[in-house]
Structure formats: structure tokens, C-alpha cells
């Protein structure tokens, strides 16, 4: 069942056991798991079926610190959430991403990769993925890893018919919780806003916040402030340890053999460090995207020449009326060290149309990450030279310690942390089952529960964690 307003939904008399806030990959996956188990569920989706400027305006916010994307363009607020602009890149966090690292404080999860592996079969069906191949060691330091570019499932489009026909799942569009109320043990209700106006209060036995890697923190911070700590009783880490995947062009490479690594449809291959190399150099995880030269024959020769004799290559490119870049390009994305100082706060001056304070994101890259970028490229370049696979050149701004460029990708639009998972209530918000510490009926889904970010795109892991949470909730609710 899909409704366009809370008013229309209310008239059905539907009695849900649980309320899921948000219909992105996490919320939709949990709802489908519970619905399939015969549990009546309501999903509140703030936006409608399509993008609208009016809905998107609720996501405006401010960033303090490093340059970052506008907060209303880095995510989407309509059915299917940010899957609507997802590029479809898939990989699950590595086993090593779940382990604590002595050289990086506050790393390590309370669960291991083995805890989500039983759900990967479902994830492959949902995201329409072929099987992943195992990583291939290139050296003791570098792995050739696989990142599958899936058809980029738009959750709203893919599941609209299924949800419309479902008897157990009610999706209510244009409706969201401006605030949850709680007594320090349970969520007692939600104040709703539907189609531009106050829609009263709503209650359910269980609530699951799946509003996104920025918005979960905003909702919980605001609700907790209004309930005097009754929504997140242990709030020391709430909004904190927020992470992204900073991404920059890091250099070029001349390859000895262009068929050495099998590339995907975009002529790309991906590389990451081994745990031993990370430990030895005391750096975070990273991913190098090698984009092989797309040029054939003579153009490829000139592109190779552009690395070593740029002036000559420029002249030859001019003769060919082409702009040929130096051989292969290297992009680096890396794991951010989880820092309490990288955090989401509520604006003291700016509110949305419903009166909820907007986000003020405080975000800075750390010196450890800067070292990860440089040492990561050196590690990759050393492997390429030692194995005679090619030669790498690191961009000057990286070698010389220059400022981060502001005209490049900057980051991956991956919003992680803020309500992180853990056992220490001072450094985490939810437990290993994604239940808010100290609360009996309140759970969080999505990448806001990530303790560390690893180096890969988060959607595959988000979906696996959502399958796991859906199964857990099904057992809890059935009791």
C-alpha cells in the first residue's frame, strides 16, 4: 500500500507493529524483510515519488571546516532516498575494516564481517550483483580488488509495485517525523509533518530511523534535545565520528602492459593495501582507481609520451586536434580516521519550514589521512615498479604538501557515522544489533551506524546490515 498523505493512510485503520522512518536502501530493505515475515509495517517517506525542490529544501545546511558539497545536493529526499542518484558501485567492507587498529584510535566494530556474510546472498539479489571474485595479491603490499558497477538499483522504482500490492507494508509519502518523543526507555511517539503541515502524533511499538547518514543524527539530536535526553539517553557520541571517503586525482601511470589487469566497462581497475602494509606504514585503508588510457594505437603512444615529454605530446595532440592526457589516471579514495571532532550539530540560527534546526556539519581531514594519501600512492607506485607493471607519477600537490584542490571530486557523497555502533556508550550510540543504547524499542539503520568507513562505497554494506537488522527485528517483534 502506498499513500500520498498521512491523512489518507489514517483512514485505513492500519495497525503497524513498527514504524520505519525513510525509504532508502536501509529503510526499504528492513521494511521488506519484516513485511515478508508477516509483520505489519509503516514506512514514512518525507518526499513523494519524484524529486521536488520544495522537499529538497529541507536538506539545506552548512559545513564548517574543509570544503564539502552543499548538503542539499549530496543526498536526495524522495521515495528510494539517495539510491536515486547512486552510481551503483558495489563492494562489501573488507574483513580488516571491522578490526581495531592500534595506530588509529576508535577503530573496530563490535561485529565482524562474518556477521553480515550470511546476508550477502540477499544483497546480491536486491542490488542485482554477480558474485564477487576474491582479491588478487599483486605484492605483499597491494591487492587488486573488485568493485562491481551494478545497474544502480533505484529502490523507489524497483519496489514500487511490490509495495503497492503489499498487505503488510504501508508506505506513507510526503510525511515525516519532525521529532521523536521518548522517556529514556522507549520511544513513546512521533510528531508528524505531512504535505507541508503539522499532522499530529503517531505511535508504534518499535521505531527504526533510516533517514540517512546525515539526517539520522539531526533527527536524534533534535528529538533528544526536545525530550531532555529521553530519546538517546547516552548521547556523548551522538552526531560524532562522522566520516566520508575523500577522493582526489592523485597522479598518472605509464603501464607496461595494458592487458595486465582486466578492466571494467569504464576501463577501470581498483587496488587497495594489505593489512600488513597498513600496519607497517600506520595508515588507513585506501582505494586506487586506475583508469587505463582510453586511447587506441597512435593516440595511446602520444598519451604515454604526455607523461614524460608533455610539451612534445601537447604539440602532437594539437596536430591531431585532440586533447590527450598522460596515459593512465590514478584517483585515490581513502578511509577517514574516525574522529569525535568531525560531527553533525544543530544550527542555532537556521531552521527548516517545519521549525527543525538545520544541520551544521563540522568536517576536517586529518594529518593521518594526508599521510595515507601520499604513502598509499608510494606503496602502489613501488609495487608497480618492483613488479615492472608500470611507473607511477604522484601529483605535485601531494608530494609537496600543497593544499587539497577544490575543483575536483572532493569526496564520494558517502555519509557515515554519527550514530555509530559500539559497546562503549561514551563512544557509540547503538549496540551490535543497531538498538540505541538504553532504549527498548528504538533502532537505527543505514551508514550512520558505521564505526569505520573502509575504502569502498557503502551501499552494499548498508544493505547487508539492513538485512541483518530486519531479521533481528523480526525475531524481537514476533516474541
Amino acid at each position: 500500500m502506498i499513500f500520498d498523505s498521512y491523512e489518507a493512510y489514517k483512514q485505513t485503520g492500519f495497525k503497524p507493529k513498527a514504524c520505519i522512518l525513510g525509504s532508502g536502501p536501509a529503510g526499504m530493505t528492513i521494511a521488506r524483510k519484516l513485511g515478508t515475515a508477516g509483520i505489519p509495517i509503516v514506512v514514512l517517506e518525507a518526499g513523494s515519488r519524484e524529486f521536488s525542490e520544495e522537499s529538497q529544501d529541507f536538506y539545506r545546511g552548512k559545513t564548517v571546516g574543509d570544503f564539502y558539497f552543499d548538503l542539499d545536493i549530496t543526498r536526495l529526499r524522495f521515495m528510494g532516498g539517495s539510491s536515486n542518484h547512486w552510481a551503483g558501485w558495489c563492494r562489501v567492507l573488507d574483513k580488516q575494516d571491522f578490526e581495531p587498529k592500534a595506530w588509529a584510535p576508535d577503530t573496530g566494530w563490535p561485529i565482524s564481517r562474518a556477521d553480515i556474510e550470511p546476508y550477502l546472498g540477499e544483497v546480491h539479489d536486491i542490488l542485482e550483483l554477480p558474485a564477487f571474485r576474491p582479491d588478487v595479491p599483486v605484492s605483499d603490499d597491494i591487492r587488486w580488488v573488485q568493485l562491481i558497477k551494478s545497474p544502480a538499483v533505484r529502490f523507489g522504482e524497483k519496489y514500487a509495485d511490490e509495495l503497492d500490492k503489499s498487505k503488510n507494508i504501508a508506505v506513507v509519502l510526503n510525511t515525516y517525523a519532525t521529532e521523536l518523543t521518548g522517556d529514556g526507555k522507549r520511544i513513546t511517539g512521533a510528531k508528524l509533518w505531512s504535505n507541508g503541515q503539522d499532522a499530529g502524533t503517531f505511535s508504534a511499538d518499535y521505531f527504526v530511523a533510516c533517514t540517512g547518514g546525515l539526517e539520522n543524527s539531526r533527527l536524534l539530536l533534535w528529538s533528544n534535545e526536545r525530550s531532555n535526553g529521553g530519546v538517546v539517553p547516552n548521547a556523548a557520541a551522538l552526531g560524532r565520528y562522522w566520516m566520508e571517503h575523500p577522493t582526489f586525482e592523485g597522479g598518472n601511470a605509464v603501464l607496461a602492459n595494458y592487458s595486465e589487469f582486466e578492466v571494467d566497462g569504464s576501463n577501470e581497475a581498483f587496488f587497495s593495501p594489505t593489512l600488513a602494509a597498513m600496519e607497517r606504514l600506520q595508515i588507513m585503508n585506501f582505494g586506487i582507481r586506475l583508469i587505463e588510457s582510453p586511447y587506441p594505437n597512435v593516440k595511446k603512444l602520444i598519451a604515454d609520451l604526455a607523461c614524460t615529454a608533455p610539451n612534445m605530446a601537447e604539440w602532437m595532440s594539437f596536430q591531431l586536434d585532440q586533447r590527450l592526457r598522460c596515459a593512465a589516471q590514478l584517483y585515490v579514495a581513502w578511509e577517514q580516521a574516525p574522529l569525535a571532532s568531525n560531527r553533525i550539530e544543530l544550527s542555532k540560527t537556521d531552521v527548516d519550514h517545519a521549525g527543525v534546526p538545520r544541520i551544521e556539519l563540522r568536517w576536517k581531514k586529518s594529518p593521518l589521512e594526508r599521510r595515507t594519501l601520499l604513502e598509499g600512492l608510494r606503496l602502489f607506485g613501488t609495487t608497480m615498479a618492483q613488479k615492472n607493471l608500470g611507473r607511477v607519477r604522484i601529483d605535485d600537490w601531494i608530494s609537496n604538501g600543497g593544499d587539497y584542490p577544490t575543483n575536483e571530486e572532493t569526496a564520494g557523497h558517502h555519509h557515515m557515522g554519527g550514530t555509530r555502533m559500539g559497546t562503549d556508550v561514551l563512544k557509540s550510540v547503538v549496540d551490535a544489533n543497531c538498538k540505541v543504547h538504553g532504549m527498548d524499542n528504538f533502532y537505527v539503520g543505514g551508514s550512520s551506524v558505521f564505526c569505520t568507513s573502509g575504502q569502498c562505497n557503502p551501499t552494499t554494506t548498508i544493505t547487508a546490515l539492513a538485512c541483518r537488522l530486519g531479521e533481528h527485528l523480526g525475531k524481537v517483534i514476533a516474541v
Partner: protein
């Protein structure tokens, strides 16, 4: 040292000076450069042998 030089004939001193360059033949060889050593030059990560 100066008394030792005074006792030497000028001819002997000249002969000694003339043979000085030949002493380099007896000097130990330069340390061998590893062609596989990895070096970083102008941002390039290279093998030493790439520089030959």
C-alpha cells in the same frame, strides 16, 4: 715528515708525484648500485635502472 722529505732527492720526489694517479688503481671499487632500488624523482616512482 719534513726531515724525511729533505733526505729524498728531487728526482725521487718527482717520480713519486708522477706515479700518484696510478694509485687510484688500488683503491677499492665504488659501492655497487642496485638497479632494482626504488627511487622517487620529481614525483616519479622509478627503478634505479630507469635512470641509466
Amino acid at each position: 715528515m719534513s726531515r724525511f722529505i729533505r733526505k729524498m732527492s728531487r728526482r725521487a720526489i718527482m717520480q713519486a708525484l708522477i706515479t700518484l694517479p696510478a694509485l687510484s688503481l688500488f683503491r677499492s671499487q665504488q659501492p655497487v648500485v642496485d638497479p632494482d632500488e626504488i627511487v622517487e624523482i620529481n614525483g616519479w616512482i622509478l627503478r634505479r635502472s630507469d635512470l641509466a
